[in-house]
């Protein structure tokens, strides 16, 4: 693993204001992310684990710079340095328009394969949309690329003119992945990409993500609450709790020798598919 840095998050703080009273004044704030720093290396998978409300999703959203669009008067500080081919840029202060050239490189896969695809668009339109926005490809070129992408994620060209409701959850997640890969990104932020799927389908999607990573040299920020899935896919893991990263290290290190009490608690609580182990734990 080369340690070439692709993304360098420094002291990221995100505060959501809380409005109250008749005049809806700002009465307090919720500090969802309390000054975290981490780096994402080229070609690696960094797992971000934590329980609901720990701020892991907010981190992902901050990186692709959609928090301001999602939440009124959110306060973000720190730096999100993206190391691209010709230099380093801080993504955080960028406006929507300024962000656009970097969107090509940083894409997202969402948790819910049902609500993250527009039900009124065909697969062709959904997967082709990033191409329509970010490239000058002709209609024909786009269709070719969509066809190629669909095959890459295990679907086929005959699915192009269908609508999302015609697909199962696992297939929809494949469509979401194809869309994320359309612009040939460097970084994919995957927010709970398999937690809505059945066990046997989860394994398919995880394997697919690993294959695509190898083929395209992608870097993943893999956000999830399922510790076994995160361990399987990640090179390094950051454990989040109450807006802080409490522990960050190589995946195996964290699982074999967790240092922080919270990591220990989290690991101890994870159920294991091993009846004998559970009996030992219960009787001790």
């Amino acid at each position: 693993m080369s340690a070439e840095i692709l993304l360098d998050v420094q002291n990221l703080v995100v505060k959501f204001p809380v409005f109250g009273g008749i005049l809806l004044r700002r009465v307090s704030e919720v500090e969802a992310v309390k000054g975290i720093s981490f780096q994402l290396h080229r070609g690696e998978t960094l797992g971000l684990v934590g329980e609901s409300g720990c701020g892991k999703t907010t981190v992902g959203r901050a990186i692709i710079n959609i928090l301001r669009a999602m939440s009124y008067r959110v306060e973000i500080s720190g730096r999100i340095l993206y190391h691209h081919a010709s230099g380093v840029v801080d993504l955080l202060p960028l406006t929507r328009k300024q962000m656009r050239p970097y969107r090509v490189d940083i894409q997202m896969v969402f948790q819910d394969p049902y609500s993250s695809l527009n039900p009124r668009k065909t697969v062709d339109q959904i997967v082709g949309e990033p191409l329509r926005i970010h490239t000058k490809m002709s209609r024909g070129e786009r269709a070719d690329r969509v066809r190629w992408l669909l095959e890459k994620v295990g679907l086929s060209a005959r699915h192009m003119n269908r609508y999302p409701h015609e697909f199962s959850g696992g297939q929809r997640q494949r469509i979401g992945i194809a869309r994320a890969l359309a612009t040939n990104p460097k970084i994919v932020i995957a927010d709970e990409p398999v937690s809505a799927l059945d066990v046997s389908i989860q394994a398919q999607v995880i394997n697919l993500m690993q294959d695509l990573q190898e083929e395209f040299g992608l870097s993943y920020l893999f956000i999830a609450h399922d510790l076994s899935v995160v361990r399987h896919i990640s090179n390094r893991i950051a454990v989040m709790s109450w807006g802080n990263i409490v522990e960050l290290g190589p995946a195996e290190e964290i699982y074999q020798h967790p240092q922080h009490p919270y990591s220990k608690t989290l690991l101890a609580a994870a159920p294991r598919p091993d009846p004998a182990f559970n009996r030992r734990r219960r009787s001790s």
Binding site: E51, S52, S168, G170, Q171, D198, V199, S200, I201, Q202, A203, Q204, I206, N207, Q210, H225, L227, S228, V229, R231, H232, I233, A251, E252, Y255, T265, L266, L267, A268, A269, A270, P271, R272, P273, D274, P275, A276, F277, N278
Partner: protein
């Protein structure tokens, strides 16, 4: 061991515009006194419909229990009148649902909802109902129960709501608790607490049993004594907990176990997957329901449904690869690998 509940030949169909969905298509299952039985399957396998059928909670129409019997203490639950089944619910058999957010009524206080169950089933004074509600809430670990009784569901966290649901389910000391994905919506640390609580509550009630319905094999390994694996509306395998995880028979069970990454031990480079996806419930295969995804499928599989047979003591399987025990379904062709290799789980 005395059987608490025996399901025989249960068939629950749904009559929809796109045809008949055979959600549960002939299952036989026994729950013994004092055991924790896991019912595992992916979405659409029929596990929840089985649970709802036991308590006659299937919306009819479109659903209908077409055939079968569910014997509880010698009585067939499917033949009871509405008043009689109402009496069974809560008193003898009760249920905890997946969504702790939606299964409590937001406009009534927690106290009212716990007391409602007591007063609906037993002639007790309001004070007595109140006393017992406080008692059960204490037992499930709600701090300051007197005060919390006056609060509404939105004052409670997800884990606490699930504790309240368990309190409501257990306040009348039923002998069977059906828990349908009770921890799916919860965080891991809370999940562990709720599973512990359920087992603890069971231990305190002699002879009580739990039917735990889940898609999560790790949760099953954590809690159950015995497991039934469902697929395509049928039970595919039943085994003791250790046997199922160390020496499963059915190729589907093999596939499921291979699909889960592990928290401990050696890290697998790749997960073994079950190819394809769960078949459409309206168009299930004629023969074995798993045939479309099975790597061991051979000649009879698409056309002949294998019977569920006891291949080893207490270990039942529905698969043509296992013709021992019961009547051999068909001769075994030489070109097929005999059986799935035992799983290497020693790492």
């Amino acid at each position: 061991m005395k059987q608490l509940l025996s399901i025989r030949g249960l068939r629950t169909y749904f009559y929809t515009e796109s045809g008949v969905a055979k959600a549960v298509d002939g299952i036989d299952l026994d729950i013994a006194e004092g055991e924790v039985l896991g019912l595992v399957g992916e979405s659409g396998s029929g596990k929840s419909v089985t649970a709802l059928s036991i308590l006659r909670l299937i919306p009819d129409p479109p659903g209908h229990i077409v055939a079968g019997e569910i014997l509880y203490n010698g009585r067939d639950l499917l033949k009871l009148s509405w008043n009689e089944i109402r009496d069974i619910r809560g008193n003898d058999i009760s249920m905890v649902f997946q969504e702790p957010m939606t299964s409590l009524n937001p406009v009534f206080t927690i106290g009212m909802q716990v007391m409602e169950v007591i007063q609906a089933h037993q002639k007790v004074s309001k004070e007595e109902a109140h006393r017992r509600a406080v008692e059960i809430l204490t037992e499930v670990g709600i701090p300051e129960p007197e005060k919390r009784m006056k609060q509404y569901p939105h004052h409670f966290s997800g884990g606490q709501r699930q504790r309240v649901m368990i309190a409501i389910a257990l306040v009348l000391n039923p002998s069977l608790l059906i828990a349908d994905e009770p921890t799916t919506a919860l965080d891991v640390t809370i999940q562990a607490q709720i599973l512990d609580l359920m087992l603890e509550m069971k231990e305190r009630r002699a002879g009580a049993s739990i039917l735990l319905i889940t898609h999560n094999l790790a949760v099953v390994a954590e809690t159950c004594d015995r497991v039934a694996v469902m697929y395509g509306g049928k039970i595919q395998e039943i085994a003791g907990i250790d046997t199922l995880f160390s020496a499963p028979f059915h190729p589907y069970t093999h596939g499921l176990l291979g699909s889960i990454p592990r928290v401990d031990g050696k890290k697998a480079h790749r997960l073994t997957v079950i190819p394809g996806s769960v078949p459409d419930i309206h168009h299930l295969p004629v023969g074995c329901k798993f045939v479309t995804r099975c790597p061991y499928a051979f000649e009879p599989c698409p056309d002949i449904e294998p019977p569920l047979i006891e291949d080893a003591p207490g270990h039942w399987v529905r698969c043509h690869l296992y013709p021992n025990g019961g009547t051999p379904a068909v001769a075994h062709p030489d070109h097929v690998q005999r059986r799935p290799e035992p799983l290497d789980r020693t790492d």
